[in-house]
């Protein structure tokens, strides 16, 4: 990923910044220009909480070039407590422990690195809630 493209997404990747519709309150992540619920065009920045639960998952064994060396790894769709869904790698969990409804927390992790000399990309991954 070109550094500039990743950089534009830092508010979402680093701080989970969503857009909350000022008219109907619907939270959009990533932010949108028009509210899909009421067509309103004005939003306020809303920082998502970091907890949610797994609603779907799969194990990737043959990843795209950016993620070779990480395989096998799990990817899942997480329903956040703030009622938005996002896709994230699911880490620090045995594949046999994956299940729909697993409580997870988004942690700050390395997503990928451009070889040994390129930029390192950071963002969120889901890890099971400890305890």
């Amino acid at each position: 990923m070109p550094p500039a493209r990743a950089w534009r997404n830092y508010p979402q990747l680093y701080r989970l910044e969503a857009a909350r519709c000022t008219k109907c309150g619907t939270v959009h992540f990533p932010p949108r220009l028009v509210c899909s619920h009421c067509r309103n065009r004005s939003f306020e920045t809303f920082r998502l909480g970091r907890t949610g639960q797994l609603v779907s998952y799969t194990v990737i064994r043959t990843p795209s070039a950016e993620f070779t060396g990480q395989a096998p790894f799990a990817v899942g769709i997480v329903e956040m407590d703030d009622r938005v869904r996002l896709t994230a790698q699911v880490v620090d969990v045995g594949f046999d422990e994956l299940r729909v409804g697993l409580p997870v927390r988004l942690e700050f992790r390395r997503i990928s690195a451009e070889g040994e000399s390129g930029v390192i990309h950071y963002g969120y991954k889901a890890a099971p809630v400890r305890g």
Partner: protein, 351 residues
Amino acid sequence: MAAGIIGYGAHIPRRRIKVEEIAKVWGADAPSYKKGLELREKSVPGLDEDTITLSVEAARNALARAQIDPAEIGAVYVGSESHPYAVKPSGTTVAEALGATPDCHCADLEFACKAGSEGMFVAYGLVKAGLIKYGLGIGADTSQGAPGDALEYSAAAGAAAFLMGDDDDKLIASIDETYSFMTDTPDFWRREHQFYPSHGGRFTGEPAYFRTVTGAVRGILGKSGMKPADFKYAIFHQPNGKFPKRVGKMLGFTMEQIDTGRLVPTLGNTYSGSSPLGLTAVLDVAEPGDRVLMCSYGSGAGSDAFVFTVRPRVRETRDLAPRTRWLLDEHVRYIEYGEYAKLRRKIRMAE
């Protein structure tokens, strides 16, 4: 006006490897390593964990306890000897992830294992001087020992973060005194482009660690007019289980004072995170009025010592983020040497 810690947080990766598992691969005698180092296992970071990610998680826990607006953090200092980039600061990513940018001073610090306490010292100093409202000092490392080297049994990963401020109603522990001690002592080093550090073997003990830590502690006791018995807890840099016990004894501290913050037997040496993580474990259980001594150590060589007095707010804040002993003891995953070698990038891959 008093200044000191208004928020603290720890983070420790979940994976652990036991001394036996490493010794098995190198044909070494595990019981003698365990006895010699007083260490049973150590934390291991995942491929996606580094000094930056551990720092962010620890700092988020510190923010959860401080309950301040991250935009009011005026300085971010990450101390480490394993910054992910040779050129490009760790602190900018940490500050961006917390929401402390752009109105913020930032620098990465390096001084072997002392870099974490340096960040604490500088952040505290700037608050005390009135230049910033809040300052963040972090000690974090994901250090490596060469395969088969004694350091491989202890080099571990972890981070501790401290938010400094001077709002009287926010203080968790005031800093009452500081003292630093340092000389040029070549006990441990790593040259540019070298993957693993080098050390002076037995030379790392007497003239380096023990001389420097006792120098710093005697200095701060003299400066503050206090004696070992005045403290409820004492935390010393812990490269292994033995050194902090021995240095404590040399200085007149009891095991009771030392053990709460001595995490190394099941954590390993977290380098810049070492004594700072010990301090987080102490704050998790300390009571208002307790006096706490912390003394870091970094090869090269130097120590930063602090005297803290715990404030009543410690009780309200300790359960706003995970406690350090809980991170250390619960939900750990033991791995074998093969996975460890992969995670620590000790396996040579095709280009």
